[in-house]
């Protein structure tokens, strides 16, 4: 899933300091799963902002709505009614950064603000802890690395690691970061595939990654 985290409250308060009435929109997709921008987080943020603004002596009116998804035009349409009926100064989105962009696209003259920092494609390790697993390079080859991704999980995206900074299973950039190449080595050892690791992996074709420009997938079989 897309993993995100809420921006610091100070940054949000600064973004909305000129506004008196806003619509705060959540998303029931990935950001609900990672506890960043679902219905619950929308409620918490709305309360926090209202309390802070009351303290400042300039109260703010905040309407709340949480959409099924913000990365699908049909759900964004559900904002038509509240936006047309209320004179919002701005719409705040608690989706990943796709959400505010969809809202901006749909509502040409409405100011839109992101409430989250979209962090990575990843998963949860334990309750309250998430980690990055994929960099969306567009040509998955993890089967060559014991099922682990060196592009996303090695600090240098090395294809022939581990580098000289691997120490005690940890990456040189931080004792908190696993050396994925150490994990790859151990797993391929268990799989009896260490001989595969002895081959030099040659140049990666990055055309399918962001380097090839913004990407688009067209499924002719699904297009109407």
């Amino acid at each position: 899933m897309v993993v995100a985290e809420r921006k610091p409250i100070e940054e949000i308060l600064d973004m909305i300091k000129e506004f008196d009435k806003v619509l705060l929109t959540g998303c029931k997709g990935c950001v609900t799963v990672c506890n960043a921008g679902g219905e619950k987080e929308v409620g918490i943020l709305a309360s926090a902002l209202k309390i802070a603004r009351k303290k400042e002596g300039r109260e703010i009116e905040i309407d709340e709505i949480t959409l099924e998804r913000q990365c699908d035009p049909e759900y964004i349409d559900q904002l038509e009614d509240p936006i047309s009926k209320n004179n919002y100064d701005a719409v705040l989105s608690m989706a990943c950064s796709v959400g505010p962009q969809y809202i901006a696209k749909r509502f040409d003259t409405v100011l839109v603000y992101p409430m989250l920092n979209t962090s990575f494609i990843g998963g949860s390790l334990e309750h309250g802890v998430w980690a990055e697993f994929c960099q969306a390079c567009g040509s998955c080859a993890i089967h060559n690395f014991g099922g682990l991704c060196p592009i996303a999980r090695c600090a240098k995206s090395l294809m022939n690691g581990p580098c000289g900074g691997s120490s005690g299973g940890k990456c040189e950039i931080s004792p908190e970061t696993d050396c994925v190449w150490h994990l790859i080595y151990e797993r391929m050892s268990r799989l009896g595939q260490l001989d595969k690791l002895g081959n030099v992996v040659m140049f990666k074709d990055w055309t399918t990654s962001r380097d090839g420009g913004p990407r688009k997938i067209v499924r002719e079989d699904l297009k109407q």
């Binding site: 294809m159 581990p162 580098c163 120490s167 299973g169 150490h182 992996v201």
Partner: protein, 308 residues
Amino acid sequence: MKAGSNLEKMFAAGHFAVTGELGPPRGADAGHIHEKAKYLKGIVESVNVTDCQTAVVRMASMAVCRLLLDMGIEPNLQMVCRDRNRLAIQADLLGASALGIKNVLCLSGDHQKFGDHPQAKNVFDIDSMQLIATCKKMRDEGKLINDHECEGIPKFFIGAAVNPFADPFDFRVTRLKKKIDAGVDFLQTQCIYNMEKFRTYIQQANDLGLTEKCYIMAGITPLKSVGMARYMQKFVPGLDVPEDYITRLKGVDKKKQGDEGIKIAIEQIQEMKEMKGISGAHVMAIEWEERVEEIVSGAGLLPRPDVS
């Protein structure tokens, strides 16, 4: 001869080779280079010029290499993959060859997190293994990565680094082999302090016949003080400084710790000279270039043989 550099000739003639290292300044002062490099002239075959080492912005390695050539010193161009994509890397390699640079050392590069611009975007389009293969393809096939033929083929003596002390230890010799497979001619090791572990490593390489396929230079960095030794032991990932060297440094007067560090370096090189599979020493006297002559001389390696 692949490139005909002094370093290559020294190996080819069967001599125990010696290389040095020079870190460019964090500014545009060429005088700084002259000052440091003069201590290395005639003492080592060639001098590694680091490429923004520890991810700190410094004068470009290639420019410093050319300044060394002007001083009559052979450079080893260090090149990292952190700051350049395959376009820039190949362009720089062609330029380096045109400037008369014959030795290249292919490295991944320290992560920018350690440096003076941790906010930077890194590149890592290719890795050190693939950089070796790039140099080899350019030299042996006269082609770029995309198979375009070079007009004027760069001739490099291709080097890389290996760290016998990083983990997992059992994979380290495999990685050495991969560098040989990718096309490396010589390898310089990370600074060696744990001699026992290093002997095991070289024994493994010898057993696989790897030391006959490329020249391996033992990395030697003299310890200046107990403080430096402790720092390297605790804070430099992939370095292994055993307690006995620290005890030895502690055993002498504080002012003499540097001299003791030099003595240790000399003893290490003397052992390396006799070690099967080791073809030379890479002396990295960090900000201590003026003591390199003492080390090389103490190890009985001066004057350097003339192979020109």
